[in-house]
Amino acid sequence: MKKFRVVHYINNFFAGIGGEEKADIPPEMRVGAHGPGLALQQAFGEEAEVVATVICGDSYYGENMESAEEELLEMIKEQSPDLFIAGPAFNAGRYGVACGAIAKAVQESLDIPVVSGMYEENPGVDMFKKEFHIIKTGNSAADMRHSMPKLATLGMKLLKGDLIGSPSEEQYHTRGIRINYFNDKRGSLRAVEMLLKKVKGQTYETEYPMPDFGQVAPNPAIKDFTQVKVAIVTSGGVVPTDNPDRIESSSATKYGIYDISAYEAMPSDVFTTIHGGYDRTYALEDINRVVPLDVMRELEKEGRIGSLEKYFVTTTGTGTSVGNARRFGQEFSQKLMEDGVGAVILTST
């Protein structure tokens, strides 16, 4: 009985190499299963073997998408895998995007099945759910025990050519791929039945939930910037050094509004960053790398913009729920408008 060959992709953290300070490591390959790959191997049992693990730092991948993909593909090809597993990435955005990108590339170049796992709010889900199957996971690695076996199970089904069930059966994110089937009642009949329920105020279940991407129409262009007050908003977690509002390093439940009117540039002894999702070394050296106050002041003096708002708005982007982020935006936008702000520059790390 042939034992299937599996290659597993993980990041700097799960490989045990290091946290944020190691997010810049280039691709590397290690023989056998590592980190969560051990759980993956256990789930496969005797049917498949994790022959190699390929690793890349999340920031390295994000900043070098093309070259990282090329290097990793070379390493993966050499292993002649039958199946490729990426992650799971849970709610880690950069990791999810990397998993999605490399899995897509492997599927295209090697023509083998690929599977990943992510939490529903991971940007990697919307970006890649159409390309291949992404198992639904919880939002943190605490879910590894429950998720990993699902990746293995779906992977084996794909390998054997078994019929893949619906998203709810197999627990992957809805892919938006429609498969035709025959219902015993024709569509017009089902539609009228649904409408009657709706009109009567009874519960009904839609056959097709509308996706909520939260898109907004672009604002008109600014005609005369000299008349406009600009405000800086950041998701880079820049706060006063004592973090008076206790904004979290991840999964923020609040945002802050802090005065910068006294400064010509962001001073490193007054402000810091508490963001837990990127290596803070560079921002701590010079906060203007995240909140570009020095340049905004110059532009204000030169009259390129009408004025700069005397405060900036900040929160931590990493792990922050869509629901909270939306609420923050709605709230502070009100204040910005009341204060006569006409344009916002939003910076993200």
Binding site: V97, M127, G214, N288, V344, I345, L346
Partner: protein, 65 residues
């Protein structure tokens, strides 16, 4: 609003309409490999691009490279 962000595909997915690519994840408006004067010039060019983006009429999501 203009969004200055390094991983442009993420900015696009979450629906930003005007996007300006940044330099690096830990230094969106900077580059620690440059001398301070050159780095500030770089920062300025990104912010100016952001202002130009705000002055540009668009129909759909647009990345201003």
């Amino acid at each position: 609003m203009v969004h200055i962000a390094t991983v442009v595909p993420i900015a696009l997915t979450v629906g930003a309409n005007r996007i300006v690519p940044a330099i690096g994840i830990p230094y969106p408006l900077g580059n620690p490999n440059l001398e301070p004067i050159a780095e500030k010039k770089l920062r300025r060019s990104i912010v100016e691009r952001a202002l130009n983006a705000l002055e540009t009429e668009i129909e759909d999501q647009t990345v201003f490279e």
